[in-house]
Symmetry: none
Subunit: 145 residues, 2 copies
Amino acid sequence: MKHQILIFGAIGGLLITLLKWSEYRFLVVEHSFAIYGGLVAGIFALLGIWLGRKLATNRSPDIRQTPLTLTFTPDRNKREALNITPRELEVLTLVAQGLSNSEIASRLFVSENTIKTHCSRAFDKLGAKRRTQAVQIGKEFGLLP
Amino acid sequence: MKHQILIFGAIGGLLITLLKWSEYRFLVVEHSFAIYGGLVAGIFALLGIWLGRKLATNRSPDIRQTPLTLTFTPDRNKREALNITPRELEVLTLVAQGLSNSEIASRLFVSENTIKTHCSRAFDKLGAKRRTQAVQIGKEFGLLP
DNA sequence: TATGTCGTCATTCTTTTGGGTGATTTTGGA
DNA sequence: TCCAAAATCACCCAAAAGAATGACGACATA
């Protein structure tokens, strides 16, 4: 996002410089101002629209994904904001599907103790006391489908 | 969205007209072009950003009806088809909210044993072995929000 | 009245979860 | 190469959840 703004500014500056330079070179007719003005306006409007869309879509992937989304992505800012590791989230989604710890363990080819550790840490980070609560909170946070 | 584009166009046209008009009126200095150009560019860039955000956020109000529904009704055919009693469903929704049996008991002013009975029966009818599974199935069936 | 459903509650026992602690190995990045 | 985070596992203990069974009262209805 930062570098987009930089690009935007660079393009803008370059364009202005170019136009100003062209002023001293050729075809500076009387009415060219309106033409150039319109041109600049159009270009910047397009750039602005492009930038605006980028800003709006990069920020807040919020409410738009959630509803049906066969392509659900738990992501990601939220997960990292809570320091929840990918593995913990993976366990969490299986918890949300109603699996027991031992079922999760055998599905992921690890011991049940490991699953319990992941669960405990995830619950901690979510502020949940029970797995049902963790699921509920996880869904609110957009971590779970 | 349509009228936003119209507004955008109107403002743009008005601005250009104004600038063109000002050309015939006052302070048309030699180097004013760069200034005006920059001004127009900035204004249109801002407008573009604004428009772009609007477009990006207003776009796709499509699939969004079902999910949130502050007016969720668990109903009903499904519930009766599964022989789940209203009380059982009531307990089930509290389970889905992450409450423990004792919390549910005190919220409904009954004993924890009663809650356990309701849970067991509800799980049976849903074909669930765990409460997390019951929640998952309940949501699939449209019994839980 | 007899029957059936629903909601309520208890008791016993087993399984599942969760908390706490400590330890080892992998791994990704400075 | 070295460190920190992540993933793995174990052990113990307590709490919560669940299964099974039996029971009782209220209520509607056949």
